[in-house]
Amino acid sequence: MTGTTWWRALLRDRNGLLGLVLVGTLVVAAGVSWVWTPYDPATTDLKARWVLPLRDGHLLGTDMLGRDQFSLLLAGARETLAVAVLATAIASVVGVALALAATLPTRWVSASVAQLVDVVIAFPALLTAMILAAVFGGSLWTAATAVGIASGVHVARVARAEIDRVRGTDYVLAATAAGSGTWRTVRRHVLPNIASTLIVQLSLVMSVASLTEAMLAYLGYGSPAPAVSWGRMLYDQQPYIEARPLLVVWPGLAVALSVLGFNLLGDALRDATDPKVRGAKAGSGAAVGAGSAGRVGGGAQAAGAAGAAVDHSSTGLAGDAVLPVLDIRGLTVRINGRTVVDEVDLSLAPGERVGLIGESGSGKSLTALAVPGLLPDGAEASGSIRLAGRELLGLRERELARVRGDQVAVVFQEPSTALDPLRRVGAQIAEPLRLHRGMTRRQAAAEAVELVRRVGLPDPEHAVRSWPHQLSGGQRQRVGIAIALACRPAVLIADEPTTALDVTVQREILGLLDELTREEETALLFITHDLAVVAGVADRVAVMRGGRLIEEGTTEEVVRAPREPYTKDLLAAARATAFDPTGNAPEHMAVNP
């Protein structure tokens, strides 16, 4: 909400601009009708009934009483706008007052206000407006009051949730701790932060008010005669719909365009005032781009090295006789036209374990995710990816799905979000078995228990029946491994599987991955930014930077004698962490001979 940036963002948004134009038209029509209309909208002229459009100076023709339809439309804008503005004013006062009352420290007050809000919300605005109109006579006040109060309680609910959120934030807590009084905190810290949510809510109130005004006038509870309303016009024309269908079209269109205008403007305002959305629109793809500011901080000295090609003849496959199970050639990934993975060659022999290492944004994860076809939306891959000789690039989603989980599986980085929160753990482990092995529910469930036991979760029978949120991060990652290994895939991709875990848990998970893939002779592509992690697991290491593969070799070669300055930086960073990848690491971390 700083300065005028949101205003500019609004103008850049095509929908926002359209909304602005529509609402602007409504305002102008209301203003113009105040001083001028082609004919007096209230005057009936029985000599000029049913004049067709564009005749005798009647742009849209006249109705059964000879009233000029265009003049009526212009004048109707006044009623719509007046009700919208009044209702919004009432809603904002009611909403903010109730929301603040509901967050008062006195418990019984806030509880009863919240309860009252929940009940009043159930009273539809139209009903209240009808009753008010029956009592006081229909007017824009009865319509605006009813819509204002009904929308106000809605606003109160949203605002209260926002206030609760903002009050929990550090800066408000800090302000309170610094001795800022309640009211001062609200005025200085809370209100400015919920303003953007309120603006959006209030623009929605405008569209609800416009619609309700039309409905009320149609039902006969709007403002009485000299006032003109689009809803009333619809009511008047309905009996003649057979003869003059067009006369019903104009007022309805006027209501629809006004409501559309308020809605579009509201949506655009939400996007424009939300820095998250605004940032995403301005620089899409930046987050996954090949960033130059890495964790290792060796940006300057490695500038020339980044482009250096890797000589594959010297560092290629360990045994040339063995056909690679996974063979990536010239893989290039583009996101929105930007190259984020550039001509990468990488292959894995059956049962071989390769560490793919690089800083965030180096393209290592994208390289790996391109294999099972799990690239994010908008990313395009070209080149060649062969799995056991079969080309994967260019396969359709349906065909790729048959490969995923069966021949190639993935363990993801975030165990907290990688599992479906609404399904039991066992069912998620059983899923690949049912999809690829054609197992019945019962068979798959039994197999899931066995898998849970293999990944070392305590009490497997009970564990399969638990929900993801009942497990710890390490336990969830064990479940993730169980899902990935369920069908004994030929290739396992582990995408930073330990990054989100505590150090001790990291070791356990690494050990488990190491042990299981060794037993099954599964080829492992292990992605990480931490050379220390990969050194214990991988036979070979490939280093990526800026979307390119810059160094590749056996783990020992790379760890003992790195060629690239960038790799040296990675190594230095790894040595600075707790364990030493070259020797004194825990047993399962030791470099393979």
């Binding site: 919300i121 159930a122 029956a134 809605n263 995923r404 993801f412 479906d420 609404l422």
Partner: protein, 317 residues
């Protein structure tokens, strides 16, 4: 879970009680003398007193409320102040029109909005996706009553396929005719409601599509659409259900308008007529029923949310 249901049920009862108080208070605002309206201009003061006594208008407000509430608790919403007919009986009869109208419209709206919303989310970068959401955006803006009038013009006036207005006098004893006269009203209501739902289904599905667990499901061998179907819909159901709870009120309001447009003898038409006649006992009963339906649906939505989401189950009980 049981603890939650019981506690939530207690809240519902409290809310219904508050709603009855509000409905009663709102209707006490109505000016005019029901006794005079009923007695007509020929009634002398003694007759008026008698009518007033008969209607209970000479008692205190608290007493009037107590006796009304007592009746409500036994399913008796009182009698019309104008002609003495039972409000409960009349509501029951009108519900035979409004009930099918609202339920069929809701079913049709969901049947359209869920697949289209999911499709719009799956193809959100393509022309099809933006096209669907644009149509939805337009649908939200179109006033229900206007849609009704346009449908009448096209299908009843021009093509003469369906009746433009009214409901058979015999009601559902003429099932074919009754159903035919509900087609256009149901479609009208479903279009307005479906457009709103479409929008929320799309945003809920888009949100779910970006989640990690969907990628896990795909990595296990699901296609993008398959993963959304098996894992996404259940996760998207929560937000959509919340919207449904709120939209029930909009649906009922829409029914009032649609019944007026199509001259259907339903609860909405009854309500409009009774407000016009200032028959406060009837209006009070009708408002209470409408609000009670909205509150009850809110309760059901809350329970359903917890049945879907194990995390909510644990926090509440």
């Amino acid at each position: 879970m049981t603890v939650f249901v019981v506690r939530r049920l207690a809240l519902l009862v409290l809310a219904l009680f508050l709603a009855s108080l509000l409905a009663f208070a709102l209707l006490r605002l109505l000016p005019g003398d029901a006794a005079a309206a009923r007695g007509g201009i020929t009634a002398d003061p003694a007759q008026l007193r008698a009518i007033r006594h008969e209607l209970g208008l000479d008692r205190s407000l608290a007493e009037q409320y107590r006796s009304w509430l007592g009746g409500v608790l036994h399913g008796d919403l009182g009698r019309s102040q104008l002609n003495g007919t039972s409000v409960t009986a009349e509501l029951g009869e009108k519900l035979r029109v409004t009930g099918p109208l609202v339920l069929a419209a809701l079913a049709l709206a969901l049947a359209g909005a869920v697949p289209l919303g999911v499709l719009a989310a799956l193809r959100h970068r393509t022309r099809l996706g933006t096209g669907i959401s644009t149509v939805g955006q337009l649908g939200i803006a179109l006033p229900t009553l206007w849609v009704g009038l346009l449908l009448v013009t096209v299908f009843a006036v021009e093509a003469r396929l369906l009746p433009a207005q009214g409901f058979p006098v015999e009601g559902w004893s003429a099932p074919g005719e009754a159903a035919r006269s509900l087609v256009l009203p149901v479609v009208t209501l479903a279009l307005s409601e479906g457009a709103v739902l479409l929008r929320f289904v799309r945003s809920a599905a888009l949100d779910v599509l970006g989640r990690d667990f969907l990628r896990t499901a795909r990595a296990s061998g699901r296609t993008r659409a398959g993963a959304l179907w098996r894992h996404g819909l259940r996760n998207a159901a929560g937000p959509v259900l919340s919207v449904l709870g709120v939209q029930v009120a909009a649906l009922l309001v829409g029914a009032v308008v649609v019944e007026k447009v199509f001259a259907l003898p339903g609860v909405g038409s009854m309500l409009v007529a009774d407000v016009g006649n200032r028959d406060m006992v009837k209006v009070q009963g009708e408002v209470l029923v409408v609000v009670a339906v909205v509150l009850a649906v809110g309760f059901l939505v809350d329970v359903a949310q917890r049945l879907i989401d194990p995390r909510l189950r644990e926090t509440a009980s």
